[in-house]
Every structure is written in C-alpha cells, then in structure tokens.
C-alpha cells in the first residue's frame, strides 16, 4: 500500500506545524480554493523533502509568505498543500560595510528594514502591504514595488543572490554575495516575478543603500492633465533627481487629504515629488521643483517628517484598503508620454459606468495603479454576474485594448473570482510565451507549483 502523501508531509514538518481542520484551512484559500493541508516548515531541507513527496504524488503546492498578494494571478487549477514560509524568518547576515544582507525569505520586510535601520541602511524597495506582513520571498515572487522604483528600481535591481528549492526537491542557488557578478545565468532575475511557479524561494541576498540624511516632498495640484504632464516632463528633463514622482487622481488625493487633513484644493490632479539626499541638496532641489510648479500655476505644500511618511504610506496602501470583496486592482505599464492619455481614459471609462476609481501613477516610470471600487460587494461564493461586475470587466477590457495599442501591458493584481473568471489576469504574454512555457515544463514537468495561476 502506498503511503498517504499528506501524512508523509505532516511527518516531515511535525504535527505542531500544520493546519488541517477545515475551519483553519478556510483562511488559506486561494481564490476560493481551499487546501487540504497548510504546513509551516522550519528549514530549507524540510521544504526539499516536501517537494519530493509532492513531485512524486503530483500534489499541487502553493507557496505562501505573508499571504498579502495571494490574489495575484489567475484562479489556480488546484490547491492541495500550502507551504508557508513564516518560520524561515532569520536574518542570516548583514555586512553593513559591504552594504549587503542575506535573509531567509519568510522574514517580513518590516522586520528586515527595522534591523537594517539600526545600521542606518535600508533595502531600496517600498511595496504595499508592509504593515500587514509582506515577506521578502513574497515580494520577490511577485516583483511588487512602490514609488521609490523611480530611483532604485524594483527587486530586479536589489536581489543579487538567491537560494530556491526546485519542484524536484533540489536546493539550488544563483548569483553571489557581491553586487557585480556575471558568472552563469542570472537566476535571481528568473525568480523575480515568477509567482512561485518555478520553485520555492528560501533565501535572498540583497544590495542595500545608506539611509539618506534628509527627505522632503513637494505636493502640488494642477487644474488639468496637460499642465500636469508638462510639469512632469520639465522635472524629468531637469537636473533634479527625485526619488519618487507620483501622480494622483482627484478621487485619490481627495481621500488622502481628508485622512491626513492636508490643506489642498480638491478635485484636481496632484503631483508628489520626493527628494532625498543631504539636507542642503534636498532644500536646493525642492526649491527648483517649486519653481517649476509655480510656473505652471501649481498650488503646493511642502511636507516633511511624519506627515511626509504618512502621505507616501497612503499612496502605497490606498488601493488595498478597499475591502477585497469590493475592489479590483490593476497595473498598467506604458510610456511616460502616454500617462495622461491612459489616465484620462481610465477615469472616463469608470465614470461612464458609474464606477469609482482611485489612480496613482509612477509618472517617471510609466506605471499606473488603478483601484476600482464597487459599492456592493461581489458575491464571492456564487460569483454570480452582476451589473457592476460586468461593468468592471468592460472597463478592464477597454483599458487593456487601449494600453496594448500603445505597446504597453495591463495586468490584474487583485480581483474577485467572478472578475478573474471573465478576463485574464495577465493578458497577452507576447511572442516569447512559448519559451516561458518550455522553462516551466523543464523546471516543473508535473506542474505542481501554482498550476494555472501564471505560466
């Protein structure tokens, strides 16, 4: 008689580190698909043993960090076991003089940053969900990022070494503990954004930055998008080097300024420019930003200290504060010069369908985040079509068509199942999708990792 593979997995991690009661497992559902088991391994070796069992028995595995982005991707075909990295939570090494650190991937970004801060350093990435416990592994797997990507890029730039467990259980590494390294293929980049479909990420090595001496943000509002875009292009084409350059639509800046009691005119487009450097250099650049803004009749506020931090936190977190039953979050990547057009189209499409949308955009990168809010929660259990749900689907389809015609891309980051079942989360993967499928088939021949969610 063959052994029950779930029993084998329970034996690997020990009975104290599993969840198997239906009531407990509910919380670990992925798009409504409830696993049969959730396990909390402590070591890379345990994960390797789990993968060997799963590979032999063809169990579908979903890796999970803090669970904050478990809604990314398509509805999975199958979820048997959730492998949660919460107990792989050690900071292994922080060599401050080298500006490099290595951590286990279940470490939360919050804990990691707090540790680095003691040596006046930071990991140059500011994705959402940090307060809710987003883990380093989850951020690598989703390549999630925030406004600071203008200056520092994403995980793609920060991750220099990686250790993963492949679906066959082999433990492999790529990269090194040095910033510059071209030995072999760039395995860290392959795993950034691979959404847990090529292996379970267990360790990461990162390049770090010193925390700048000073930071200030100039927040200005503009009567229309044309003037707003002229301002953006003037700043980008100047000697100013902003850390963040963010555009906010009237709904979003209205909500944020209510919450933070900012003295701002509402119903206008807002631009937030963050400068970080030595004190004197910050003041000098901020005055240049103000000068450009004044020339375009912008009305501005200078923010620093706690209120500045709060503003950026709101910008990152706002879309995700909407209840998950009422929200659809998308990311569009377009050219810098196409930002106003797509911005406007999104607002008009939503307005026409009576949907409320909050938009923030990385104006210097051409990356826009749309959160569409509906008033009545979607019927999660039934997924029954409703008028509003269909309107959201229409908006996404129209926006995707527009963005595609501009050679950009639009992906759904989070949406109720009823939406995801009607419009693909990823859209067209382009002419190289066949190579991606070959990679997936070679790495994971039985498709045990996150089947259906991504590649």
């Amino acid at each position: 008689m063959m052994k029950d593979p779930l029993e084998e997995i329970i034996n690997i991690v020990g009975k104290d580190h599993i969840l198997s009661l239906p009531t407990q497992l509910e919380h670990y559902s992925v798009d409504g698909k409830k696993p049969n088991l959730t396990v909390f391994p402590k070591t890379t070796e345990e994960i390797s043993e789990i993968m060997k069992v799963a590979s032999t028995a063809h169990l579908a595995i979903t890796p999970r960090g803090g669970g904050t982005k478990i809604g990314f991707g398509r509805v999975p075909d199958k979820v048997d076991v959730i492998v949660c990295t919460a107990r792989l939570n050690r900071i292994l090494e922080h060599e401050a003089s080298d500006l490099i650190a290595t951590v286990e991937c279940g470490v939360s970004l919050k804990k990691f940053q707090a540790e680095l801060q003691e040596k006046n350093q930071f990991l140059a990435i500011d994705p959402p969900h940090v307060e809710l416990g987003a883990t380093v592994g989850g951020i690598i797997a989703t390549n999630d990022s925030g406004p600071k990507r203008l200056k520092f890029g994403t995980m793609r730039e920060s991750l220099i070494g990686i250790k993963v467990v492949r679906p066959d259980g082999s433990i492999v590494k790529g990269g090194a503990k040095v910033v510059k390294n071209v030995a072999g293929y760039d395995l860290p980049k392959l795993y950034v954004g691979s959404l847990g479909t090529l292996g379970i990420i267990v360790e990461g090595t990162f390049r770090l930055y010193p925390i700048p001496e000073a930071s200030k943000t100039y927040l200005a509002t503009f009567p229309n998008l044309e003037i707003f875009q002229e301002t953006v292009l003037s700043i980008l084409n100047s000697s100013i080097v902003p850390t963040c350059l963010e555009v906010l639509n009237p709904n979003l800046i209205g909500a944020i300024s209510n919450k933070l009691n900012l003295d701002l005119k509402k119903q206008k487009y807002a631009l937030a420019v963050r400068i970080e450097s030595l004190e004197k250099a910050v003041s000098d650049q901020i005055s240049k930003v103000k000068q450009i803004s004044d020339e375009k009749n912008g009305e501005g506020l200078l923010l620093e200290g706690d209120i500045e931090e709060s503003l950026w936190q709101e910008i990152r977190e706002f879309p995700w504060r909407i209840s998950c039953d009422n929200r659809t979050v998308c990311k569009a990547s377009i050219l810098i010069t196409d930002v106003p057009g797509v911005f406007q189209a999104a607002e008009e499409l939503c307005k026409k369908s009576g949907l409320k949308t909050y938009i923030s955009g990385r104006a210097g990168n051409g990356v826009l985040i749309f959160a569409i809010e509906v008033e009545r929660p979607f019927d999660y259990a039934q997924g029954s079509p409703q008028e509003e749900m269909l309107a959201v689907v229409d908006v996404i389809k129209s926006l995707r068509a527009l963005v595609s015609s501009l050679k950009g891309t639009l992906v759904i980051q989070d949406a109720p199942i009823s939406i995801k079942s009607q419009v693909d989360a990823w859209g067209d993967l382009g002419t190289s999708h066949k190579v991606m499928e070959k990679l997936k088939n070679l790495f994971d021949p039985y498709h045990i990792l996150n089947p259906g969610r991504f590649i």
Partner: protein, 495 residues
C-alpha cells in the same frame, strides 16, 4: 549537443557555405583563409579556432534564415560583435560558423521624452551616448572598450564599467530585445515599457554570453546627464586605509558614481606610461567620482575629504577643472596598457570580492605572487568589489604563460573563498568555464542548463562555453523528473 549526420560528403563545408551565399550574397559570407583569420579569436588571443566561414547578415530575417539552415543541418554557430571580449566568448567552433553582427549597426529610434533609444546590435557603445548627448542624455554602462565594443556584445556579457555602483550594469539599462532563437524563430522580449508580464527572459538573456540566441534589436534606457561631476584623488600609505575609506564614504550616506583603487605597482606603471601626476610613493590611490545635482555634489565633497583624512590619507586632490579630471582618469583607464611598460606580457583577471575583504585578498595575492615568482599589479572597482589583477609574465620564457594562468586560477579561488565571484564583467566564456564548479554545485549548474535547454535544445548556439562539462538536454531534463507512484509500483512506465 545532438549528433552530426553519420556520414558527410567530403565537401560538406563547401556546400554549406554555398547555401549561406544563397541567403546572404557574396558580400555577406567570408570564407577566404586570409580574411577569416581576423575572426579566429576575440580579446582572449591565446586561443584560436578557424570556423567554416563567417557570415555578415544585415537583418533579423537574414539571421533567422542562417540559423534555420544551421538548425536543419546541425551546424553550431557563434555570435560575434566587435570581438573585444576577454573570456573567449566569441571563440569559433571548428565545424561551425561565426555570425558577425557588425553590419547591423543602425540607430533605429531616439525617443528623448520617454528616455529610450532603439539600436541594432552592431552599434558601438559610445555611439549611443553620442546620439543623445546634444539633448543632454547619455547611456550609463561604460566598459573600457566603449570606443569599439558593440551593444550586442554588451548584452551578451552584461558589461559593466567604472560607474556601476551608482548606475548598475547593462542588465539595468536594457528594456527590450528582439531575439532570433536557436531554432530561427524571431521573438520580442520586453519592450519600451516596463514590467512585461511573464518570466523575466530579458534578465536571463542579458549576460547569457551568446548561448540563448542572437539579439537583433535592443531597446535601452538613457539617462539625463548629471548637472555636476567632481573627481577626487587620495593617496594612502596602506591599501587597507583606501579600502576603509570606501566603506566610510557609503557610511556617510553617499553613493559615488565611481570609486577606483590602484596599488603601488599599477601607480608606477601608469606614471611611467602617461604621467597622470599620481604620487608614485603611495601604497594605494583611491579615485572617487561624485556626480548629480550641483548642490548635492558640493555638499558631499567636504564629507568625502573628511573620510579620507580620518583614514590617514597622505594627500588629497580635488580636480580643479575638466582637464585635471580627465588626467586623473587617464591614468586609471590606461592601467592595462601601461603594463606593457613594466612587462613584456600581462594576463588580466576579473574576480569579485566583498569590498571589505580587499586588504586580506591583496595580502593573499601578494603571497601567491611570491610563490609563483610573477609580479601582480591590482586595479580595483572598489565600489562594487570587482578586482582586476594584472599578472605580469614573459611569453618568450617557456612555461610562463601556463604559470600566469595557474596563478590567475588561484586568485579566483581566493575570491570565491571570500564569498565573491569568478567574474564581474568579462564573462565566463571559454576562459573560465573550468572554474564554474568553484561557485556552483552540480545541481546549480544543472538548473542553468535547464534554462539553456528551454532556448536551445540541440545546443548549437555558442557551444563549449560557460558550462564546465558538456551535457545534453535529455540528461539534464531527466533530473527534474521524479517517478510517479504508478511507475514505482511497476504498473506503468513513462514514454
């Protein structure tokens, strides 16, 4: 690699070359021995192989047709840019052809507001900056060979330069590629916009050393030129103090554009060659370049000087003007060539170490130098830990080249032992493939081979490079399978 047809007619090379002529015309195929000689090696001149012929396609379509023909007839092909690579990445194979991209050298699109430029792979690195310079922009990666090396070659090698610490290497500046895959299919990877959904094939392709396909179009990010640049030179008695200054600078929250250290032997050679005005008695000099908004550079300069003084600098000079700045850099940039003044031959290596290990590693290199009886000069991209030991030898003395290579291998071992890498920017290529197991286990290498198999199942694209032992995709693929219980229990089998 898949097996060749069992019997080939004796004139198969000639008939293969004829088929290439049909695709490319007479000016697109080089097969005369006199002309082929230039393609027998790249910058690693110690190894030479004569290919069947060299082809010079002018478009992605021609590249694709050539590759389809190679695929049909199982002929290996080696892509080549300007041939400046230092690791033998463009070394031909005897029964294969070289595909030179030198005729695909057009700049296709300049898009200043979106900070992008689209070029063909044969475009020379410096041409990119020249094309956007009048608009106030530049292309950041600046390998020392930037006057001749091509963007296609930079993509293959993931080239660096002296400004990597702040601005990154080639992979951080390539946003899109058009690639001819090893079966001849033309695909797009990435594009002018960011965050294309799917796996990061762009990240895999950059630095793949020509093993995954041939790039026929490249979209690059261009950057706004910094408002101000300041170069500061500091001389130290001890290398340790120069190294400590590097960490001291970053501890002040400053990330300079470049930080370069040269040891005494390098300083002396350089002074003899170009008279850069370096203090020849110094144990080490550190060049620091700050760039950015003027106010920032002005505020950083005194802090950097303060760090130098804290670390016992004997002398600190701030370049007064562009001329002096150029002179400071001239010394560093001519370091390799200057070795010719102090030695008949030199062999350059490309190890990487965590920068805090510099003093220790230089100590080890000193011991190895004594052991082998060969002098070693060191130049060091101190910001990112990339060490270039220059091993001085005399090829007219028998056995010295072999000794130099052996010494280089020992230095790479020291680098890896200290947590570093066998190559920071020159690539593994043919030169260093035997050192890959120093850094990577068999499983790590198998994983990289799986990537190769997803692109090039037959292994025709630039074979014999990077991987220490030849494998086939069938062998490697087998490792990722596990027996299904039905197979285990003998109830079924896989076929």
């Amino acid at each position: 690699m898949s097996s060749k047809p069992v019997t080939k007619p004796s004139n198969w090379k000639k008939s293969f070359a004829d088929k290439l002529l049909q695709i490319l015309g007479t000016d697109g195929v080089i097969s005369s021995p006199d002309e082929i000689i230039a393609y027998e090696c790249d910058g690693l001149t110690g190894y030479r192989v004569r290919p069947i012929c060299v082809v010079l396609p002018k478009s992605a379509k021609e590249v694709s047709e050539v590759i389809k023909l190679c695929d049909n007839e199982n002929i290996p092909f080696v892509p080549r840019g300007a041939g400046t690579g230092l690791s033998g990445g463009a070394l031909p194979t005897e029964d294969g052809i070289v595909i030179s991209l030198s005729r695909m050298n057009r700049i296709l699109e300049i898009d200043i507001p979106n900070q992008r430029i689209v070029v063909e792979p044969g475009v020379v690195n410096l041409w990119v900056t020249n094309a956007v310079s009048s608009s106030g922009y530049y292309y950041a990666p600046d390998p020392s060979s930037q006057l001749v090396c091509t963007i296609g070659g930079n993509v293959a090698e993931n080239s660096g330069g002296v400004h990597c610490l702040k601005y990154g290497v080639t992979t951080n500046h390539v946003l899109g590629l058009e690639v001819v895959l090893p079966d001849g299919e033309i695909v797009e990877v990435g594009g002018k916009t960011l965050d294309h959904p799917g796996y990061d094939l762009l990240g895999l392709f950059v630095g793949s050393e020509g093993l995954l396909g041939i790039v026929t179009k490249v979209t690059l990010r261009i950057l706004r030129k910094p408002e101000s640049i300041k170069t500061i030179l500091a001389a130290f008695e001890k290398v340790e103090d120069a190294g400590a200054s590097v960490s001291g600078i970053t501890a002040k929250g400053i990330i300079p554009a470049g930080m370069e250290i040269m040891d005494n032997l390098s300083i002396r050679a350089v002074e003899e060659a170009v008279q850069a005005g370096y203090p020849v008695e110094a144990g080490a000099i550190l060049l620091v370049e700050l760039d950015g908004p003027s106010a920032e550079v002005e505020a950083q300069t005194p802090l950097v000087i303060e760090v130098f003084k804290e670390n016992w600098a004997k002398e600190v000079r701030v370049a007064k003007d562009d001329d002096e700045r150029t002179l400071f850099w001239k010394g560093r940039k001519s370091a390799f060539a200057a070795m010719g003044r102090v030695s008949p031959d030199y062999y350059v290596q490309d190890g990487v170490i965590p920068r805090t290990k510099l003093a220790k590693v230089l100590g080890e290199i000193g011991k190895l130098s004594t052991k082998y009886g060969l002098r070693v000069a060191n130049v060091f991209h101190a910001g990112d830990g990339n060490l270039h030991p220059l091993i001085l030898y005399d090829s007219s003395k028998s056995g010295q080249l072999e000794k130099a290579e052996e010494l280089a291998g020992e230095i790479l071992k020291v680098c890896v032992d200290e947590g570093g890498s066998i190559t920071g920017e020159h690539g593994v290529g043919f030169d260093k493939k035997q050192f890959m197991p120093l850094m990577f286990s068999e499983e790590d290498l198998d994983t990289m081979y799986l990537i190769r198999c997803a692109f090039d199942y037959k292994g025709l694209c630039n074979p014999g490079k990077v991987f220490p032992t030849p494998r086939t995709c069938v062998e490697v693929g087998r490792t990722s399978y596990r027996e299904h219980p039905i197979e285990k229990s003998g109830l079924g089998e896989r076929f």
